[in-house]
């Protein structure tokens, strides 16, 4: 709705332009998807008299990645061994443990909680996949983290992805009272990523609760003293050691850049193929050479 320049409070890179076109496309598809019924699957007949090609192409671009279980191949970005080397499994002492983190804890070694990396790997794969899809659909992503040691790193990560970051004092109504604080007609983030779920006084960050209020999904790194209830895609892991946070930032950055590159590739491909190539399936793309990208990541399935 509003270009990045008129959003003063959110620290942004402005690399990724946000034209009005995708928002209009998204509003067009749900109208088609629900022809008066409860089915949310995409229907065949468009209600509006727009050129059929553009709708089908946009539909193909948006619906195709959802059919693969790992369209962006995020599994290859990490392994349990790499998580262990980055000290992601180290939690706080047993006295700091939060009750709801108990299912994610493997055990306690001499009083220090050790996080179960098998579960972390599963959660991380889901979270990265979700993040990639949101970035693919040109959603706004906001990185939040209140640990001062890593605030610069988080801001540079956001800049490198072309997304936004907020690592300073979070004002009360930033999400819930956005028209007043940020100006009228401001588009709120479509995904909030927490590198630290707690603020500087070890209480849950206000944005966790506010995102749940404003129907914004969240991805968050939850340590053993955090509450993972309200976070949509929690990633149980260490949020205090530098190697661990560096690993997470690197993973998030790679995933988002990969997703955006994929989107550029798909659009270019469909533009090239034109109206005759609308029947092309996902596997056809694997055979075609990569367009406009340095290297094409291996297709999902």
């Amino acid at each position: 709705m509003v270009p990045a320049a008129t959003v003063p409070r959110l620290l942004g890179a402005g690399v990724w332009p946000r034209p009005l076109r995708p928002h209009l496309l998204q509003s067009a598809t749900p109208g088609r998807a629900r022809p008066g019924g409860r089915t949310l699957a995409s229907a065949a007949t468009p209600a509006v008299s727009e050129p059929e090609d553009s709708i089908d192409v946009s539909d193909k671009i948006l619906s195709q990645p959802l059919k693969h279980s790992d369209f962006f191949n995020v599994k290859e970005l990490f392994s349990v061994r790499s998580l262990f080397d980055a000290r992601v499994h180290l939690g706080h002492k047993a006295g700091c443990r939060h009750r709801f983190m108990e299912p994610y804890i493997f055990g306690s070694r001499l009083g220090q909680d050790i996080i179960d990396l098998e579960q972390t790997a599963a959660h991380l794969q889901l979270a990265l996949n979700f993040m990639a899809h949101v970035a693919y659909r040109k959603g706004i992503i906001l990185f939040v983290g209140r640990n001062r040691q890593f605030s610069h790193l988080i801001e540079t990560t956001a800049r490198n992805c072309g997304e936004y970051a907020h690592t300073r004092y979070f004002k009360g109504g930033l999400l819930t009272n956005a028209p007043l604080l940020l100006g009228p007609m401001v588009r709120l983030p479509d995904l909030i990523i927490f590198l630290h779920t707690l603020n500087n006084v070890f209480e849950p960050h206000v944005a966790v609760r506010d995102a749940a209020k404003m129907h914004i999904p969240t991805v968050g790194v939850v340590d053993t003293n955090c509450n993972p209830c309200l976070i949509t895609y929690p990633i149980p892991g260490n949020d205090d050691s530098p190697p661990s946070i560096h690993l997470f930032c690197r993973l998030f950055q790679t995933t988002i850049n990969r997703a955006k590159q994929k989107r550029r590739q798909m659009e270019a491909l469909y533009r090239l193929q034109g109206p005759e190539g609308l029947g092309a399936r996902g596997q056809g793309l694997a055979a075609s050479p990569s367009l406009g990208g340095t290297h094409s990541p291996p297709e999902g399935e």
Binding site: F100, N129, V134
Partner: protein, 189 residues
């Protein structure tokens, strides 16, 4: 855009889905299809954190290895290792770790008596490296204080004092006397 700000009622997804079904929310949000296709392992519903009362305890096990027994004996006999732990090196082997590995090796050869194994391992390590001679000297010093060495309160001041012994003998003797008296009073009859 219509929203219900009830974060304690259901998950973000259930509320959005129901608003769409009711016709209140007109456009599907960007993330809706993605959540539908790839839901999380646990639906993010709010739960009130309740404290545990009485004897209820968390079901988290302690992580202990059979080598921990050997490590406990090593540290009670020799104190903390002479070589500082180099945590930057992932393949680092401390004195204690070398001891434990030697012990297990000798155990596999057929020995069963723990005391014998302990002494054998000590000798084997002596033969292996130079650093271990100091280990032997420490056991001579601490041989008399083994009974109350194992108590956690007694260990720290003891090791600090012993290191400073060659430097300042007179005041340290007084300290030694007082610290000897305290643990003797604490040790069980």
């Amino acid at each position: 855009m219509a929203r219900s700000r009830l974060e304690t009622v259901g998950s973000v997804f259930s509320r959005t889905r129901d608003l769409i079904r009711a016709g209140v929310l007109n456009e599907k949000p960007l993330w809706f299809d993605i959540y539908n296709a790839f839901p999380p392992l646990r639906e993010p519903v709010f739960r009130r954190p309740r404290l545990r009362y009485g004897k209820a305890k968390a079901a988290i096990q302690d992580i202990l290895y059979p080598e921990d027994r050997i490590r406990a004996k090593f540290y009670s006999a020799y104190g903390s290792g002479q070589k500082a732990f180099d945590l930057f090196n992932p393949n680092f082997k401390s004195t204690c770790q070398q001891f434990v590995e030697k012990y297990i090796e000798l155990q596999k050869l057929g020995e069963t008596d723990e005391e014998k194994l302990f002494v054998e391992t000590g000798k084997a390590l002596l033969a292996a490296g130079v650093i271990l001679r100091r280990v032997e000297a420490r056991t001579q010093k601490e041989g008399g204080h083994v009974s109350w060495e194992s108590e956690p309160t007694g260990v720290k001041p003891q090791t600090v004092l012993e290191k400073n012994q060659p430097l300042q003998e007179v005041p340290q003797d007084q300290h030694l006397e007082t610290s000897e008296e305290q643990p003797k009073g604490l040790s069980p009859p």
